[in-house]
Symmetry: C2
Subunit: 197 residues, 2 copies
């Protein structure tokens, strides 16, 4: 029973994405060679252009995969908290910590915007932002947060968090800097509370 066509195709797609993820993370988007990358996956550029259209398409697929993983993880961590507000804080802190991963930093934070444009219009929809937005909308509805613009609040919070992550990662001693950033983030976020305690 020969392996089915669709099976192998999906396997090849997955292999390409995996190899691309590694190459983009290690060398950056521009320096990642498609020839090397596909060869590492046991394929050629032919498979790549057939499946993803072009280099950018492959990159978008990689970003989408990472974005999904990040959003899932953040949601899980947020779900452990008792209150919606603590969940929002926990999610934001989770993003900061995830951004310490070199893969996330290089692909999503540095190359992502340059290659795909503003995150809010990524093909992957930027699931991370959606998660934050949902949490914010609910907190505003509950009266926990001030009645600010939900989209603006979500953008500002995630922007602050991810930017903090870049700073931490670039610092000499990330583990030492992390708590400073997280602490400051908590203070900042209270500015959006209806009744800061």
């Amino acid at each position: 029973m020969a392996t089915r066509r669709i099976e192998t195709m999906e396997k090849n797609r997955a292999a390409l994405i995996a190899a691309a993820r590694k190459a983009f993370a290690e060398k950056g988007y521009a320096a990642a060679s498609m020839d090397d990358l596909t060869a590492a996956a046991g394929l050629t550029r032919g498979a790549l252009y057939h499946n993803f259209g072009d280099k950018r398409g492959l990159f978008a697929a990689v970003v989408s995969q990472i974005d999904t993983e990040m959003a899932t993880r953040a949601k899980d961590i947020g779900a452990r908290e008792a209150t919606g507000w603590n969940a929002l804080l926990a999610e934001a802190e989770a993003y900061i910590e995830m951004a310490l991963n070199p893969e996330v930093r290089r692909i999503v934070l540095l190359d992502g915007p340059a290659v795909l444009g503003d995150p809010s219009q990524w093909p992957s929809q930027d699931t991370c932002l959606q998660v934050t937005l949902t949490a914010v909308e609910q907190l505003i509805a509950e009266g926990v947060m001030k009645p600010v613009d939900p989209e603006a609040a979500a953008r500002l919070l995630s922007g602050a968090a991810l930017n903090a992550a870049l700073w931490i990662a670039a610092s000499e001693d990330p583990p030492a800097v992390l708590p400073r950033a997280v602490d400051t983030f908590r203070h900042l976020a209270t500015g959006l509370l209806a009744d800061p305690t």
Copy 2:
């Protein structure tokens, strides 16, 4: 009286930076051709590699120029305010508005991090961040702001502001979205006030 060597060299450097600024803004870093760019400046790639080393070096020079302009403008705007706190807010809002300029957005916000890495370690030192940091340090010393980590606060504030700008610019009706972002930013920032009123 033949034109002096240093004179023409400086003129050429300026011409290259000007042409590069235009090309990088219009086409993005990757798509900007050095041949076209130098020709537009009435020179060849020879001048470029002699003056800036490589494409990245020229880009760094452009970023530095824009960064300086932005910081100067922000400081000016901040200086008009009566209190340090209002100055900080005004500076942040100025950054948001400046980031609506396509040139700033494409070069500094999108391509900058991808090409030069995290802004805090740019050759230009990221003067914008320095301005914010200085303001924050003073406000903490005066007791206006909570005694948080100044560097963290500056990074979070500027990160939130610049990210908001990206969002605004990508939206369909930027002028309408701008006040929503600015308003939310003001609320958020109060989280760092020692005595929120």
